[in-house]
């Protein structure tokens, strides 16, 4: 049984449970909504995870790199935060993708897939915001900490990894939570590049009957997802606080 089959099985099981408890107009298309949610969640988990590491790298480059690294890190944040996500998605999918297989060569399998392009663009986009958030967090730390770490014999990288970044993350956590919710909402735009996420499925179902309920169900599902994320973030926040700042 492949990964895809497991996802379908999950969504069928959920819909079996939901069959009698949900309105008929939802139950009829239930597997489509749930299939869509799973794609949305999948994109969200992967992009927030990878995006976090890229963002941390960019933030560190911004505060402690050489001049060229600094300006590169600055440009990364500036360009990806200064242009709309939808434009970024379309530039990569419709723009770069139009170069076709001959010109893109080994990169073609990536550009061929709407899902891969969507994931990459969401990751890069969120990394730019995360970098900015972490940079703000790093700026709140007293410079003495870094000096103390180095004087204990830590290397610059060790000081960053062990002393500064963990604290910056703690300070920046609430802002990171906001960004995660925004990322979830932004992920709906991948439906414009043929990805069948929750929004893509919603639009397909809507096209079959033009019933406003379709949008309402989708909105409720997104709200539930946002609620779930918020609770999760709160839990992590509580753990981060243990033994640390008040």
């Amino acid at each position: 049984m492949g990964y895809q089959d497991i996802k379908y099985a999950v969504s069928d099981a959920v819909c079996l449970l939901a069959q009698d408890t949900t309105p008929a107009s939802f139950a009829k298309y239930c597997p489509r909504y749930i299939d869509g949610i799973l794609v949305t969640v999948e994109l969200l988990l992967l992009s927030s995870f990878i995006g976090f590491f890229i963002g941390a790298l960019v933030a560190v480059g911004r505060v402690s790199g050489g001049p060229s690294v600094r300006s590169l890190a600055w440009a990364w944040s500036y360009v990806f935060r200064g242009t709309p996500l939808l434009v970024q998605l379309w530039i990569v999918y419709f723009g770069l993708g139009s170069l076709g297989e001959e010109q893109l060569g080994v990169l073609w399998p990536f550009f061929k897939s709407g899902w891969a392009v969507g994931l990459a663009v969401l990751t890069i986009n969120t990394s730019a915001y995360i970098a900015e958030i972490l940079r703000g967090g790093l700026a709140t730390l007293p410079p003495g900490q870094y000096e103390a770490a180095v004087s204990c014999g830590m290397s610059r990288g060790q000081a960053m990894r062990r002393i500064l970044l963990p604290q910056a993350i703690r300070v920046a956590w609430p802002a990171y939570g906001n960004e995660l919710i925004l990322l979830m909402k932004g992920s709906a735009l991948v439906s414009t590049i043929t990805v069948m996420d929750l929004m893509g499925q919603t639009r397909s179902v809507f096209a079959r009957g033009y019933a406003m309920e379709t949008y309402a169900y989708s909105a409720v599902l997104y709200l539930l997802l946002a609620l779930f994320l918020t609770l999760l973030l709160k839990m992590v926040e509580r753990r981060l606080r243990v033994g640390g700042y008040p």
Partner: protein, 233 residues
Amino acid sequence: MFELLSFGDSGWGDDLIIGALLTIRLALASLSLGLLFGLVLAMMKLSRLAPARWLAEAYTLFIRGVPEFLILLMVFFGTEKAVATVGQWLGFETTFEVPKFAAAVAGLSAIFAAYCCEVIRGAYLAVPKGQIEAGLAVGMSRWQIFQRIRVPQLWRFALPGLGNLWLVMLKDTSLAAVLAIDELLRVAKVAGEATRNPLLFLLAAGLLYLIMTAVSDHLRARMEKRLNRGMAR
């Protein structure tokens, strides 16, 4: 290749600029409506009337959890249905049409308002308690305190937050492209399809968005500086 971006009948440069102007108009219209609506929401949140608070709270919760794209589609398809239904209910055949531009402004300002009311509320509460007490001590009424102490400082406290929200909305206007409004992104997409050179036009659109956000950011910084003149920081 770059003659495609030239002005005049053979190039698309002027069309892109016209699209960018529509983007700015869309954003400005949504800003003014959104500020107004956000102010009302902030008042509801600060109100002593519990139902008003709950209503405003529920509204922001909804907008914050639902994708902007979905909200725009709901407003776009929903308002016309709603208007038609209300019309039928009142017993007259409506041919009232919600123009696409107005629907987009309604959607964008509805989103803006939900975030903006928090900024305004925060700015209202940011006035130090001592100032209010000082006002009471010199015999000012509640209304006078509101009018002379709170409101003049509201703008100063709210500006950084509002500046951020403006940037967010400026970028969100690109969603109107999916609703077939001829703003910057849609013009770029159409031009790209017509000339079979989507990369060039989408990159050009991206650059124009970057210029618009950079200019906005610069203006915000200058305004902040002005407002904070003479303030100890």
